[in-house]
Amino acid sequence: MSEMTKKMQEIAREILEKGEAQVVIGWEKGTFWYLSPPAFIDKPEDVQRLVWDDFCHNNLSKYLVDLKNHEGKTAVFVKGCDSRAFNRLLQDKQIDREKVILIGIPCPGLLDQDKAKELGKNSELPKAQKCLECQYPNPLVYDYYLGDKEALNEVAATKEAADYSDVAAIEAMSPDERYDFWTRQYDRCIRCYACRNVCPACSCRECVFDQTRVGWIGKANNSSENQFFALTRAMHVAGRCIECGECERACPMDIPIMLLNKKLVKDINELFGEYDAGVDIEGKLPLGHFDKNDPEEFM
């Protein structure tokens, strides 16, 4: 058992025994060695289920939306991306800060699950793409912190510049090539909505894609409807995407969803000034306000 797992179990037990929170959300070992799905612990004797390893990908802040009407407090473990998701939801007034206890975990970067499945247990596994590009590996907000604070500052200092070379590669194509590329990707989509369900920016009480009577989107699974879905979702999370990469990981058809999201992040940075969602809860959302001096192209 790793040091961090031990610390997690200790603090979860303490919180549950003292009655500080009714539920602790963490990760446990799943069906396979490369899966660590979320765990909801409400009894002190269950804390040994909690685990911290290289596959704790799930963004746990998302589950706070489901638990927002629960009585009492919820404790949740947060990595860097989970804490940004938490800030984001807080900014949207989706959750009550008073009802949540955050336990921060410094994240060294997690391993690629697909590669793990492919290569097997005893091989050298690469880091997940989202973790290679991560700019905030440390929790930005927490009540308790597991791990040492000096390491925290060290990692914070090495914040790397965002890499948009994959977006630029697509931008360099001709319009027809781009269309063919995206049609190929989204023809695979089975519209399971796993990307939406796992996304911490998708917190609408009722999603447009579920409002079948309104008729925004047809039930037919074809190229056109799938792209309607993709573009609509990209626009809906524009300015709110924290780039946790969960959509892409959850996608059973391996659609590069983050390529769309990153394009929007890149454009927002270029057009309206640098903005990292979920970092500063006081700031306004890029599409939620305007500036009279915004670029003018519509004259």
């Binding site: 269309y179 573009l231 929007l264 057009l271 309206f272 599409l287 670029p295 004259m299």
Partner: protein, 145 residues
Amino acid sequence: MSITEMPQNWEPKILVFACNWCTYAGADLAGLSRLQYPPNIRILRVPCSGRVNPQFVIRAFQRGIDGVLVAGCHPGDCHYVSGNYFTRRRYLLMQRLLQYVGIDPERFQARWISGSEGPKFQQVVTQITEEIRAMGPNRKLRDAQ
């Protein structure tokens, strides 16, 4: 008939989202002034350019529109004070996103046309119609394959 082959006597279909307070009045002025503009446009009056949901645009392409124009009041002139500033942010992004997924930039445009700019309305829709005519029918995002 497949949409990939060029039908005979094909005419571009262009959807214009016109804000009630400026562009619709501008279009009206173009008509009152007897300014000729192509009959290929369909005007859809909206209370404000800010009312135009990005999904409206994608839906138009799905259902066979060849080009979309979103038009509203000049910045600073919005009847609702700030609607068009939000439109500007939204469609600066949307335009780039559509281009990113392979839609030609000519097919989706946005313009500011005020109530007194009848000639500008005529000139903008003529120009867009000619651009789209030269490009041919839109096959991208279409739901009838």
